[in-house]
Amino acid sequence: MLKEQLQKFFKIDRRWIFLLLAVTLFVPIMKPLGLPNKTISPATKRVYENLEKLPAGSFVLFSLDYDPSTRPELHPMATALVRHAFSRNLKVGVVTYIAGSTGLIEELFAKVSREYNKVDGQDYVIFPYQPNILAVLTQMSSDLYGIYSKDRNGTPVRDMPVLKGIKSYKDMSVIVCVTGTAILDYWVAYVGDKYRVPVAGGVTAISQPGYGPYLQTNQLKGLIGGMKGAAEYESLIKQPGKGTSGIDALNLAHLLVLALIFTSNILLILIRYL
């Protein structure tokens, strides 16, 4: 009798599993649990230190190249980075080479600039979307205004206070590129190495392992990886946000998958030996 019972449970209707997953993911959204976040990975810490050691007023360039499909992992990361830059009163410039990210950048800066009452044009500037990344990267090495004469709303940037004294990579303290695409590789290869500017990155969990070599040779001055990296960065700047609640949900979901695999194997053994 027990064998049939287990057999039935073995062939369980998968909709119960779906319901279980939905609940495990929805609970942390409604009430973040704040599960322990063991260690801050050294790569994330290096990005934090690169921004932390900059004197107030130095210029940071963010290249935010992600779109709605990679938003859950990368948007919390970008928000934490911009919050960190504003909390250190750094001057911020934003460029993008993915058409889909313009909406997300507007949303991010509308929210965060209110928190730190930063003014567009004075404390930060957002440049328009440019399709041909290689041409722009090489042009910015000599003269930024050659390619970006106006910001994304069309106002001329030359006399903006945020860009005072900024002409090319030499005047920028650090460049952080948050993307799920190969754009970070362009920044490292065409800018970081050639013009000796520190480049740090933020990527999705899937593409994180690929950047091991760059980190070892120090071409990349630090890397935030996936939702876990975003949660680590949020705990570094002590501002829990979507990253922290996200990592709680992922913690539970991953353990759910493991628990399910275990039960199905235990059932298999039981049925075989009963």
Binding site: G103, A205, G212, I247, N251, H254, L255, L258, I261, L268
Partner: protein, 222 residues
């Protein structure tokens, strides 16, 4: 007649194939210009191919509606969805954002298209769980190896998993990240490289069959 129907198309495949192949080995400005023009042409032909798809989609759903096939009511939604994206695109000339905020296209892209495609992508997470439950059953040694690799990766990627690993296997002195690093850098690379090399040779042989007209099956046999 056979010349126009069969010989010339095969000649087009051969000439375009060989020219594109040779341009890889010729750095001269002429071959760079050739590649640029042929890329542009390819985009244009693909745009027309898309038109072909659009017309066949409208054709099949229009037939469903006119012949009142059961479930024809849903076909109307195909046209509604199409207009819900194209009309705002016309209105806001293809721009999603202006300084005042969302344009009409920005609205329909964010609330209609992204939520639909994002949701279909997210449904994958449900199916990953049900596939994991169904197929990671250790019936053979090979299945056991598959199970172990997936288990370590899934466990090690989340902080709680790392804590559990340290708690259970802390005595080995190896953090789960090092083990994941090793798995991804050594055995996984060997497996992936084996497959990639096989694929590349297979793809090259098939491409040669196309260029030299041995693989003609796609042309039909009249």
């Amino acid at each position: 007649m056979k010349l126009i129907k069969k010989q010339i198309p095969l000649a087009i495949v051969f000439i375009t194939g060989v020219l594109t192949l040779v341009s890889y080995y010729v750095p001269h400005k002429m071959s760079v210009n050739y590649i640029e023009t042929i890329n542009k042409w390819e985009n244009i032909v693909v745009a027309f191919a898309f038109l072909l798809g659009l017309v066949s989609l409208f054709f099949s759903h229009y037939n469903k509606i006119s012949r009142k096939v059961d479930g024809w009511g849903y076909s109307i939604f195909v046209f509604i969805g199409f207009l819900a994206m194209v009309v705002p695109a016309l209105v806001s000339q293809g721009k999603q954002m202006t300084d005042t905020g969302f344009t009409a296209l920005g609205w329909s892209y964010k609330f209609i298209y992204t939520s639909l495609s994002g949701t279909m992508f997210a449904v994958l997470a449900f199916y990953i769980v049900s596939t994991a439950y169904r197929s990671f059953r250790i019936r053979s040694l090979q299945a056991f190896v598959l199970f172990i690799a997936a288990f370590i990766l899934i466990l090690g990627k989340v902080p709680l998993g790392q804590i559990i690993w340290d708690w259970v296997l802390g005595w080995t002195g190896r953090g789960v990240n090092d083990v994941i690093e090793w798995i991804m850098q050594v055995p996984a690379v060997a497996g992936k490289r084996g497959i990639m090399i096989g694929i590349s040779i297979g793809a090259i042989v098939t491409s040669l069959k196309i260029i030299f007209g041995i693989e003609k099956q796609y042309m039909g046999k009249d």
